[in-house]
């Protein structure tokens, strides 16, 4: 199979290049990550992140033929050749397919991704009704692979000020949580032309999400809550 891989070595002082690679691999039943690891076995200078190899850890997000996906759950047989693999767009490249995730994590941290509840702790768990728990479906499953946020032009243009789809989906996850008491503060934190309203609803995030989540819908619910609070 034919591959085109993005190669960049910061020490060389040279600009990034695309490297053509031929690999003898039977695509049936294999994922893109299998091919990348086989290429790395031939040429150990190829650098990439991967860990769980089953779409749970979110380490191996790459741009494949123009779309952000997880290499480990992308079947080789589905891909058109030459398979072009690039690092995630919109983040600084450290080496080859490895990007600096810090701008993404900084926005994630800014929404305080933990439960805020200053009430005295109950003897057992903080209980939720099944209906309240159901509100978290579609929001808690995010694995922070950054496929959505790095597919978002608003994040490309304003990575330091726009929270991005992944961060906003997580913000909604805590706003929607019946056990969380900081809803008003969370909405205050998001009500901003840059932090929230850079989202124009083009749904690149929905198209990219390898877990099938819908950040645009969550962002819409945050906007509805802000409108309700205001009108």
């Amino acid at each position: 199979m034919k591959f085109r891989l993005y190669r960049y070595s910061p020490e060389s002082g040279e600009k990034p290049t695309m490297q053509d690679v031929e690999l003898d691999i039977e695509p049936a039943g294999k994922m893109l990550l299998d091919a990348l690891l086989a290429i790395k076995a031939q040429d150990e200078t190829l650098s990439l992140r991967r860990s769980c190899r089953e779409g749970v850890c979110g380490s191996d997000a790459v741009n494949v033929n123009g779309k952000n996906r997880l290499a480990c759950i992308t079947p080789l047989s589905e891909l058109k050749q030459p398979i072009e693999v690039r690092p995630l767009p919109g983040l600084p490249v450290i080496r080859d397919l490895i990007v600096d995730m810090e701008p993404f994590y900084k926005q994630y941290r800014s929404i305080k991704p933990w439960l805020i509840n200053d009430e005295p702790e109950p003897e057992v768990e903080r209980l939720q009704s099944p209906a309240d728990r159901a509100l978290l479906d579609g929001a808690y499953e995010c694995i922070l692979c950054a496929c959505c946020t790095t597919a978002c032009p608003s994040f490309w243009w304003n990575p330091d000020t726009f929270v991005g789809p992944a961060g906003l989906l997580q913000a909604y996850r805590f706003i929607a949580d019946s056990r969380d008491e900081a809803t008003a503060a969370r909405l205050d934190n998001l009500e901003d032309p840059y932090r929230l309203y850079r989202c124009r609803g083009i749904m690149n995030c929905v198209d990219a999400c390898p877990k099938g989540l819908n950040p645009t819908a969550a962002i819409g619910r945050i906007k509805s809550l802000l409108v309700k609070r205001r009108v």
């Binding site: 000020t161 840059y194 932090r195 929230l196 309203y197 850079r198 906007k223 802000l226």
Partner: protein, 114 residues
């Protein structure tokens, strides 16, 4: 690095953009039908078309909605692409002057023959 926080604005602008979008979606086809129904135009027919006060008020309100909608859109574009604050502010002012001037100009035109 300090954590970013919200500036507590933006919802009003977002609402304005959506409200004007609805207003334009209703008003523009209505106006288009009104004018197309009066085809073909000659000078006296054209003048008669603009005689009713309600039409002139509707046109002016539609233009105001269009200007507000365009303002939010242009502001969004500048916020995305123009990162130099001074330049962005200058562009904001240029757009405001152009849009406000257009609304005032339309008002002057609509009432100039009344």
């Amino acid at each position: 690095m300090k954590a970013a926080t919200g500036s507590h604005i933006g919802t009003g602008t977002w609402l304005l953009q959506h409200a004007t979008a609805v207003a334009l979606a209703l008003a523009l086809p209505g106006l288009a039908i009104y004018f197309l129904a009066a085809l073909p135009f000659d000078f006296s027919g054209w003048q008669a078309l603009f005689a009713p006060l309600w039409l002139r008020v509707l046109m002016l309100l539609t233009m105001a909605a269009l200007a507000l909608h365009a303002w939010v859109g242009m502001r969004d574009i500048f916020m995305d692409y123009v990162h130099h604050t001074g330049l962005r502010l200058a562009l904001y002012l240029a757009v405001i002057v152009t849009l406000a001037g257009s609304v005032a100009w339309l008002a002057a035109t609509l009432w100039s023959t009344a």
